[in-house]
């Protein structure tokens, strides 16, 4: 493998493509920076903007549909005073046969400073990062089943916010790990930040082979997997996977892996419940849990903006790497 393409030669963040291989000091730096932005986002503040990215052009390039992630990136960029352009590529160039790299080359020619990329194939943002000019930064907003690093970071921010630290946590990730870029980013972040026990809980059809190699403990039964955990990280089950050869029905999935108040009682009394959204109520999570006292799901959304502001400002803000070139 080549040197980490995300870092500059002197070890600073150049792109954010995956949390795998990033040192703990960089993850912590992002979380600390996000904490300082949290006040900027607070509702009572009259002016919700800081001028860190004034004059920078940020392109949201989404090759896959997304409303929530794209919107939070857009809000984060605008709070940093950047100019934001949203591109939904499904509808434009790709359907005319333009290649991914041609699209990126064209946007680069429009004086872009940063690309935020979502794509259905693993490694798409790596490919773009390999081909952009040195002053352009790439943030992966989800590539296939591979990585969703800002989601992973905002989950870490949420965990740290409510639990204080990682070194004494027992965390369960529940659901479709196989197809989940969120789960992979969570696992890499948790193991890097020193979480001693990361569990995955899912039927065998929704777990990658050799998943233990990622440093997780595998459970198939919820009753065992979430017992005594400090946090339950639920995953979204895609509609198309609810029936077929991986699962017989949404009902049977809910019965065995859906998070209900009864099952949640097995976790520690102060355990928090997280979900990356959008939720399938009554499939992977019961409404009583989603809206309950232990749910921090809406906080995740708020923190997500601060975390994305942190990542963007560290990449392209004044004094950040590459900004001077």
């Amino acid at each position: 493998m080549s040197a980490n393409p995300q870092l500059t030669d002197d070890g600073r963040l150049r792109h954010l493509l995956t949390l795998e291989g990033l040192p703990a000091r960089i993850l912590t730096q992002i979380l600390d920076t996000a904490a300082s932005f949290l006040t900027v986002s607070e509702a009572e503040r009259d002016v919700k903007k800081v001028p860190l990215l004034r004059g920078k052009a940020i392109f949201n390039i989404f090759f896959e549909n997304s409303t929530r992630t794209r919107t939070t990136f857009e809000i984060a960029a605008k709070r940093l005073s950047a100019d934001v352009v949203n591109l939904n590529i499904n509808a434009s160039s790709q359907s005319k046969g333009e290649t991914l790299l041609d699209t990126v080359a064209n946007l680069s020619a429009m004086q872009a400073d940063m690309f935020i990329v979502r794509h259905a194939a693993a490694g798409a943002s790596h490919l773009i990062a390999r081909h952009v000019a040195p002053h352009i930064h790439v943030i992966n907003a989800g590539d296939g089943r591979c990585a969703h690093p800002t989601q992973g970071l905002l989950d870490m921010f949420t965990l740290r916010h409510y639990k204080g630290a990682f070194h004494n946590l027992r965390v369960a990730i529940v659901g479709d790990v196989l197809h989940s870029r969120v789960a992979r980013s969570q696992i890499h972040a948790l193991t890097t930040l020193g979480c001693p026990e990361v569990r995955v809980v899912a039927p065998k059809t929704l777990l990658p082979r050799d998943v233990e190699n990622l440093g997780v403990h595998v459970f198939h039964k919820m009753s065992e997997g979430i017992r005594d955990v400090d946090a339950v990280l639920m995953l979204r089950l895609q509609n198309e996977r609810m029936r077929g050869s991986r699962l017989p029905s949404a009902g049977e999935y809910y019965k065995h892996w859906g998070l209900t108040p009864d099952k949640l009682k097995l976790a520690k009394p102060d355990a928090i419940v997280m979900h990356p959204g959008p939720m399938n109520r009554g499939v992977e999570i019961d409404s009583a849990v989603a809206d309950g006292m232990q749910s921090v799901i809406l906080s995740q959304v708020t923190f997500g903006i601060a975390v994305r502001m942190a990542v963007m400002s560290l990449l392209a803000g004044s004094g950040a790497t590459g900004a001077q070139s």
């Binding site: 493998m1 080549s2 393409p5 795998e20 290649t99 991914l100 790299l101 794509h119 194939a121 693993a122 490694g123 798409a124 790596h126 490919l127 590539d143 296939g144 089943r145 591979c146 990585a147 196989l178 197809h179 989940s180 870029r181 992979r184 990658p208 082979r209 050799d210 998943v211 190699n213 990622l214």
Partner: protein, 453 residues
């Protein structure tokens, strides 16, 4: 045309010879090794001091991309690249566009290839029409047109009844089937081994059972029909073990692996390098080690390049969207030499996997250095180092996992049918026209070799 190849280290796996000898070539044949005919007067002398002289390589899987896929590569470019790689005979799979399922297409390809410098081309016929896996092709007709074997290439054979009947029909004419075992359902939408890298990066997978389930079906049907089957490009430890047992039981099977699978593993896909997107997928290091073991104990008979030139547009994509395959004809020899060096295997044994064994599988008179045999020879410098780069590759396919890396061992001369079709110190390409008069075969100033009809 009489050529004397002087002072080379002649390595002939078939006879076990590994010694400095002169080789005498006349009228397309080897006429002497060590001692030439008394009346031999060379028109040309090649000083092979420091070079290995071995039988021309026989490559069991080279995609020439003709007909139909010329934007990837052309017959001319890839024939030349083969000569640059020391390949003097090749088998090309039928997955062209249209597939090689009619005698006319095969005859056209053979005709075009025959009038170009470069290796002898042996097209593998399509086993079923359009490779659709439904109706058999006219195997006997195709055989008369020049197909020595029949294959589905990488197209699936979903219907087991068709496979059984294909074996029975082929057995009727004693024609071999070349099959790459892969269950299309288990491999559906997959691009990578179902292992630690796919777990990390989330690649859709082709699990080992995709190979072993298909292999099991094939082996059971071979047991039933006794049809001769060559298993193409095994990739897994479990698959190789099944072939080992089946050979022990006396089934009429042979098998090969792609040269990249002798060296690389899933670890090489960890940085999304689309040039490592191969079919079958690169598997675990244990599987890679099992391939090496299978070669050493004779379970695996041959190493092929599995040459698949892919243009940049189809490779400069995210891993799972890129077209699979690697350019291979110019890396077949150096990568095999690398394997021999790493394992301490003597050259005379290692080269058997590129010469004697694949010639036997293909059923052609090649892969041997002996008086009276065709003068298909490869002369290479075993110590010459070179860097794999787009400009250093003659193939139009620049898609190599080894780009930027150093190779040791480089072909200097390739003789095919007694003609010097490639020499490194000069460009060596010319087309033959039917009415061409035999002329001065070499124009040294231009380095051009004109092939005589």
């Amino acid at each position: 045309m009489k050529i004397l190849i002087r002072n080379g280290r002649v390595v002939d796996p078939a006879s076990g010879l590994d010694a400095v000898r002169d080789v005498f070539v006349a009228a397309g044949h080897i006429v002497g090794v060590g001692q030439g005919p008394s009346d031999f007067h060379a028109n040309q002398v090649i000083d092979a001091g420091g070079l290995v002289v071995c039988p021309g390589l026989v490559d069991l899987s080279v995609r020439l991309r003709e007909p139909g896929l010329e934007y990837r590569a052309t017959l001319e470019s890839e024939m030349h690249a083969c000569a640059v790689g020391g390949i003097t005979s090749l088998a090309c799979p039928p997955d062209t566009d249209p597939p090689l399922d009619e005698p006319g297409l095969v005859e056209m390809l053979k005709f075009r290839a025959k009038h170009m410098p470069g290796p002898r081309v042996y097209p593998i016929g399509a086993l079923t029409r359009q490779l659709a896996g439904e109706r058999l092709t006219e195997m006997a007709e195709l055989n008369e047109a020049g197909c020595m074997a029949f294959s589905q290439a990488d197209a699936p054979m979903v219907d087991t009844q068709v496979l059984l009947r294909a074996m029975e029909y082929a057995k009727t004419f004693e024609l071999p089937l070349w099959l790459r075992p892969q269950d299309p359902h288990l491999a559906r939408e997959g691009v990578a081994h179902d292992g630690v890298i796919a777990a990390r990066l989330g690649f859709p997978t082709i699990p080992v059972p995709a190979e072993t389930v298909a292999l099991s079906t094939i082996l059971l049907l071979v047991r039933e029909t006794r049809a001769r089957v060559h298993l193409a490009r095994l990739s897994s430890r479990a698959g190789i073990e099944m072939v080992r047992r089946a050979k022990h039981d006396g089934l009429p099977i042979t098998c090969d692996v792609g040269v990249h699978h002798v060296h690389l593993s899933e670890m090489d896909t960890a940085d999304f390098n689309a040039n490592c997107h191969l079919i079958p997928p690169l598997r675990s290091q244990r599987d890679r080690d099992a391939i090496r073991h299978g070669l050493e104990d004779g379970t695996i008979d041959a190493i092929c390049s599995d040459h698949a030139p892919v243009d940049d547009d189809a490779k400069e994509l995210p891993f799972q969207e890129a077209d699979p395959g690697a350019t291979g004809v110019e890396l077949l020899l150096p990568l095999t030499l690398k394997w021999a060096r790493e394992t301490g295997l003597p050259l005379v044994k290692a080269l058997a996997y590129l010469t004697q064994h694949p010639a036997r599988i293909l059923g052609v008179d090649a892969g041997v250095i002996a008086a009276g045999r065709p003068a298909d020879l490869c002369l290479f410098d075993p110590d010459a180092a070179w860097i794999v780069s787009p400009s250093n590759l003659a193939s139009l396919g620049k898609n190599s996992p080894y780009l930027g890396l150093e190779m040791q061992g480089r072909v200097q001369y390739t003789l095919i049918d007694g003609h010097l079709d490639f020499r490194r110190d000069g460009s060596t390409r010319a087309l033959t026209t039917p009415d061409e008069t035999p002329a001065m075969p070499i124009l040294p100033s231009l380095g051009i070799i004109v092939r005589m009809a």
